[in-house]
């Protein structure tokens, strides 16, 4: 077969720069996660959420004034259209919601309650615990599967790549102050699945091209494999991104955060499948080659 590796883009030449960029992104994300934290929604903290639709356009400021009148001035008010708002209160008592609704009904006679949610703090605690167990178990399961199908090193870099993707997605949510709800866990786990899917396609190629290792060298092996899977990576990212984008624009306010998380995850995941896993593996095999 070919003595020299043929490829269009020399991705591995930039692997140190890419790794540096990833480390910076992760540090910024972790920094924000530790200093600012996440804007946990009522699913986790407990509290009340009310989604309202008014008969005519309203100003968020006016709504806030009404809420301040019943001692809920700290509530988060988010307008998703000129007539619709979502109000989130950290207070989880029934009374808090009732007061707010009565006050709003007194001021605007055409206000309509579309949805309300009340979550007690116990449930929130439990959810947080469940979320961590779920993430941990998913990671372990995936690690085992990849170790069996590939090699342990491949499993480690896949997990690093998906941690990279989830940390950066969480970091972006932390920096933007976007709210984290139960469905966000689903989004993160989907990103995990997606990121892996992407990484595995590249690693699969590496596994297949492994027989050319002597001729191509480590860099060549990774460059050829990434290049060979490049059009697939880009096309799949696009076909996954397009429907999620459609959902973000037309899917309504309830899952807007969910689709937003997926969009970030897809972008970061595409980058990481080209760079993160293969760069680390390249570096790893260069520094400590395995005996063939």
């Amino acid at each position: 077969m070919n003595k020299t590796a043929e490829y269009r883009f020399n991705f591995m030449a930039f692997r140190k720069k890419a790794m540096f960029l990833s480390v910076v992104l992760i540090l910024v994300s972790l920094g924000s996660l530790f200093s600012r934290g996440l804007n946990l929604g009522i699913d986790f903290t407990g509290g009340n959420l009310v989604q309202l639709e008014f008969g005519s356009p309203v100003e968020v400021g006016e709504v806030r004034d009404v809420l301040a009148g019943v001692g809920q001035g700290k509530a988060v008010i988010q307008a998703y259209s000129d007539k619709g708002v979502i109000i989130r209160m950290k207070a989880d008592e029934e009374d808090a919601r009732r007061d707010v609704l009565e006050a709003l009904k007194a001021k605007y006679d055409s206000v309509q309650v579309l949805r309300f949610e009340k979550v007690g703090p116990v449930v929130g605690d439990q959810l947080r615990k469940e979320a961590f167990i779920a993430l941990g178990l998913a990671l372990v399961g995936i690690l085992i599967y990849i170790t069996v199908r590939f090699q342990f090193r491949f499993a480690v870099v896949s997990v690093l790549a998906l941690l990279h993707d989830s940390i950066i997605t969480l970091g972006i949510f932390s920096i933007m102050g976007r709210e984290i709800s139960v469905t966000f866990i689903a989004a993160i786990l989907t990103i995990v699945g997606y990121s892996l899917n992407d990484t595995i396609v590249v690693l699969d190629r590496v596994r297949e091209n492994w027989k050319h290792l002597r001729g191509w060298g480590i860099d060549g092996l990774f460059n050829v494999s990434v290049n060979q899977t490049l059009s697939r990576t880009i096309n799949t990212s696009l076909t996954t991104f397009l429907p999620v984008l459609a959902f973000y624009i037309w899917g309504g306010p309830v899952l807007a955060n969910f689709s937003f998380a997926l969009m970030i995850g897809i972008i970061v995941g595409t980058y990481s499948s080209i760079y993160v896993a293969s760069s680390i593996l390249d570096e790893w095999f260069t520094k400590s080659p395995v005996k063939q």
Partner: protein
């Protein structure tokens, strides 16, 4: 056609026909979640008290009470189930007024027999215009009624101030609008053993009560004190009935007579039995979605789904040309199978579930993309169309399997550890993966075989 191809074609045809049969007509076949059809999802935590510790039996009876209350409220297809040791989930589809539903559910069934210190008369019904000959007479009647109402309101506030100054006294009201000043509790619901709707010797419906030993003693002394006056039966702060005590009742059995219909007697007996077990409950979680928002969510989800689908179909056509047609047909089959699976597993479609479907649309063509890219590669390497197809599929299959099993692991974990909406999402995602792998590996293959036999592949994937 090779034997293998014929076998594949048959399998695809069987699956597609079976899926079509289970999906059409689609109307009413898919279970919609509460977030899509509107309704209330309430999670209650039963809390034992010192006198009434929480037992398996008390939770079972709590379920019975809740079922009874929900039935009375008239919700169709409610779901009331126990979760774990001490939790109860109540799903009320289509409830227009979730606040009211919550009142009904969240209230503690608390039964008390109390002394009646004072009671107002019933509030007469408001004057109706059609009952009077002239406007003047009607106006007079209205003002008479208003006066009665004001008097009663005055009396009520007086009773309330008396109640607040006296220990153990409360104010209660009944359905007819009577206001009662109630004295101390004689007997509580925990001392009631049973309540049954029966008939007295004149054939009138009555409710017969049976107390336990403690209750019998307490009831005996209470009736002894109150011969000729009323004892109120108070359930959840409402005076259900305030019968006049005819005689001292010992032995722990009593009868409430009144002008009951058999139905009312039965309901009262149920409520008393319900009240006989006051396990306080706390609302842990309450999610309610109005029917309008639910319908909106379906519409916007559908719209987003169709647009997303159209974009993917268009992309595949533009980029892969004739191969794209195969991918688009395979995508339609994926969606068809996905819905067939959802319907046959009686899965509940939730809003996150719709998101799962939309995500599936995007990921479903991944298998096709992997296959097409491989086929093109093989073809560029100089293989014949048929050989490219065959080795392209073989090589892509391993990748598709590995890539999808990991997503399936994530979906399985989500399903086992998630609750409610997350489960819906995980299920649609998992079904989506199964359906898309089937379509990519079998449907696309069959379609491409047909295309190759018509010699249409070479014109698509140019050799370098």
């Amino acid at each position: 056609m090779l034997r293998k191809d014929r076998w594949r074609l048959t399998l695809v045809a069987v699956v597609v026909i079976a899926a079509l049969a289970s999906v059409f007509p689609i109307k009413g076949r898919i279970n919609l979640g509460l977030d899509l059809k509107g309704g209330a999802h309430i999670v209650l935590q039963a809390k034992g008290t010192e006198e009434n510790p929480l037992t398996g039996d008390s939770v079972e009876r709590l379920l019975a009470v809740l079922r009874n209350r929900v039935d009375q409220y008239g919700v169709s297809e409610p779901l009331i189930q126990r979760e774990g040791q001490d939790r109860v989930i109540v799903d009320l589809p289509g409830v227009e007024n979730p606040e009211q539903a919550l009142e009904l559910i969240g209230k503690t069934a608390l039964l008390e027999f109390r002394q009646v210190v004072q009671a107002t008369s019933a509030l007469p019904p408001r004057a109706q215009r059609e009952n009077y000959d002239s406007d003047e007479e009607y106006q007079a009647a209205v003002s008479r009624w208003n006066k009665v109402k004001t008097d009663r309101d005055d009396l009520e506030s007086r009773l309330r101030s008396e109640a607040s100054s006296e220990a153990g006294a409360v104010v209660g009201s009944d359905e007819a609008g009577r206001i009662y000043l109630l004295g101390p509790v004689y007997v509580g619901g925990k001392d009631l053993k049973d309540a049954k709707a029966t008939y007295d010797n004149l054939g009138r419906p009555v409710v017969s009560l049976e107390f336990n030993d403690d209750g019998a003693k307490l009831f005996d002394s209470a009736t002894a004190e109150n011969v000729g006056s009323q004892i109120a039966i108070v359930l959840d702060g409402m005076v259900v009935s305030a019968p006049v005590v005819q005689e001292r009742i010992s032995g722990g059995a009593a009868q409430i007579s009144g002008r009951f219909t058999p139905e009312e007697a039965r309901n009262l007996a149920i409520m008393l039995r319900a009240g006989a077990l006051p396990v306080p409950v706390e609302v842990l979680e309450n999610r309610s979605v109005g029917p309008t928002l639910g319908a909106d969510s379906i519409n916007s989800g559908l719209k987003a789904g169709l647009i997303g689908c159209a974009l993917v179909i268009l992309f595949m056509l533009l980029y892969y040309r004739i191969l794209g047609i195969a991918a688009d047909i395979a995508l339609s089959v994926t969606i068809l199978i996905l819905f067939a699976l959802l319907i046959s597993f009686k899965a509940t479609l939730t809003l996150p579930g719709i998101a799962g479907i939309i995500l599936t649309i995007g990921m479903a063509v991944d298998g096709n993309i992997l296959i097409f890219e491989r086929i093109k590669e093989e073809y560029r390497d100089g293989k014949t169309p048929f050989a490219s197809l065959d080795s392209g599929f073989k090589k892509a299959f391993k990748t598709i399997l590995d890539a999808n099993v990991t997503t399936l692991i994530a979906a399985a974990v989500l399903y086992y550890f998630g609750s409610g909406p997350i489960r819906g999402f995980a299920l649609t995602l998992a079904f989506g993966i199964v359906a898309s792998v089937f379509s990519a590996v079998l449907v696309t293959r069959v379609l491409l075989q047909v295309m190759v036999s018509h010699n249409s592949i070479p014109s698509l994937a140019r050799r370098k």
